[in-house]
């Protein structure tokens, strides 16, 4: 639909995001709980959440901190996880680049998997009219608030959860919940299996190099399977949009 006012477009963006929140809140809670269990202060946990605004990268960073990885490794791994934002940025740029910088910078910071997934098709069909950026901003602000508030709730729950609950297992479970629905074809399955196997066998490499090796191996496996069986291409390319963290 085409909106008559900017406010109408913004509010409709907010409403469009609300059905996605039940998938987001558990990740936020776990992220908050994990940060506290790592011994971070509430202020530091929220500072990390504000700076990252990327749930998968944040969970990964927390996991690597727990393993005692080098800071450089953690930064590189988190940024590799976030490389997908370059793709989102390229896909939304035709519809956002004309805005003044005081808007492009904040809306870029707010870019998430969810906003991208909700807006990309509506942007390219042109159905949103000239208030399309406002619709996007509505989804983005609602997602940001959902994420920050659920991490905040996790931070305050964190201190009260006993060790015997083995809650650290929730981190690999969260990764599974992100990973499994994203597997849409032979190529992404091959990427995941290769990445997983290399990571298990290369775990004793220093500086968490096993993770980098495994990730590269997985990507190469995905590309090789894709080029041998072109039929699966369309199913694999949809895999990155439906994720549950920003």
């Amino acid at each position: 639909m085409t909106y008559r006012t900017a406010t109408e477009a913004f509010l409709n963006g907010v409403r469009t995001l609300i059905p996605l929140t039940p998938g987001v809140v558990p990740f936020g809670l776990i992220t908050g709980v994990m940060a506290i269990e790592m011994g971070m202060s509430p202020g530091m946990s929220m500072g990390m959440t504000l700076l990252f605004y990327s749930g998968s990268a944040q969970l990964v960073a927390l996991q690597l901190l727990q393993n005692g990885a080098l800071p450089v490794t953690i930064v590189v791994t988190a940024l590799i996880i976030n490389l997908r934002f370059i793709m989102y940025s390229a896909s939304l740029a035709p519809h956002l680049h004309h805005l003044p910088r005081r808007w492009t910078w904040p809306v870029s910071y707010l870019l998430s998997d969810q906003s991208y997934a909700l807006c990309t098709l509506k942007f390219s069909s042109g159905e949103l009219g000239r208030f399309a950026p406002h619709f996007y901003a509505g989804t983005a602000v609602a997602m940001w608030l959902t994420w920050q508030l659920s991490v905040f709730a996790g931070v305050y729950l964190g201190a009260n959860i006993p060790e015997t609950w083995s809650l650290s297992f929730a981190v690999p479970l969260s990764f599974l919940a992100l990973l499994v629905p994203g597997i849409r074809g032979a190529a992404s399955l091959g990427a995941a299996v290769t990445g997983g196997l290399i990571a298990v066998s290369a775990v004793s490499l220093p500086y968490n190099l096993g993770l980098v090796t495994a990730s590269l191996g997985g990507v190469i496996a995905g590309l090789l399977i894709e080029s041998t069986g072109k039929k699966n291409l369309s199913s694999a390319s949809a895999s990155h949009v439906e994720r549950e963290t920003p």
Binding site: G23, F52, L173
Partner: protein
């Protein structure tokens, strides 16, 4: 790690992530993403996430120490199956944790 180096790490990731989010919005019309790179990026989440999950499930005691009685492996398999069938985050977490507690209880 000291608080200062933690903040430095957060800042580095935050700035790097912001630059990637902004990249093409800022550079629109001046640079195109190479085809091989955009094809490769599709497989980054699957391979990185799998590379993170598998060692933390297989080695519960950390770096490369294989444990024979490890309830995390069957629990993770059940959770992966639930994730596949339901695509629900909440169910994946709930069933996975319940399975872990169940296997630990049975081993006692």
């Amino acid at each position: 790690m000291s608080d200062l180096s933690l903040w430095g790490m957060f800042l580095a990731v935050g700035i790097g992530t912001f630059v990637m989010r902004l990249s093409f919005v800022e550079l629109y019309g001046r640079w195109r993403i190479p085809t091989l790179l955009s094809r490769a990026l599709v497989y980054v989440p699957a391979s990185v996430l799998a590379a993170l999950v598998s060692p933390s499930v297989v080695y519960p005691n950390g770096q490369g120490e294989f444990a024979f009685a490890n309830p995390q492996i069957p629990a993770a398999i059940i959770a992966a199956w639930i994730a596949w069938k339901t695509r629900s985050t909440v169910l994946t977490l709930a069933v996975g944790m319940a399975a872990l507690w169940g296997f630990k209880f049975m081993a006692l």
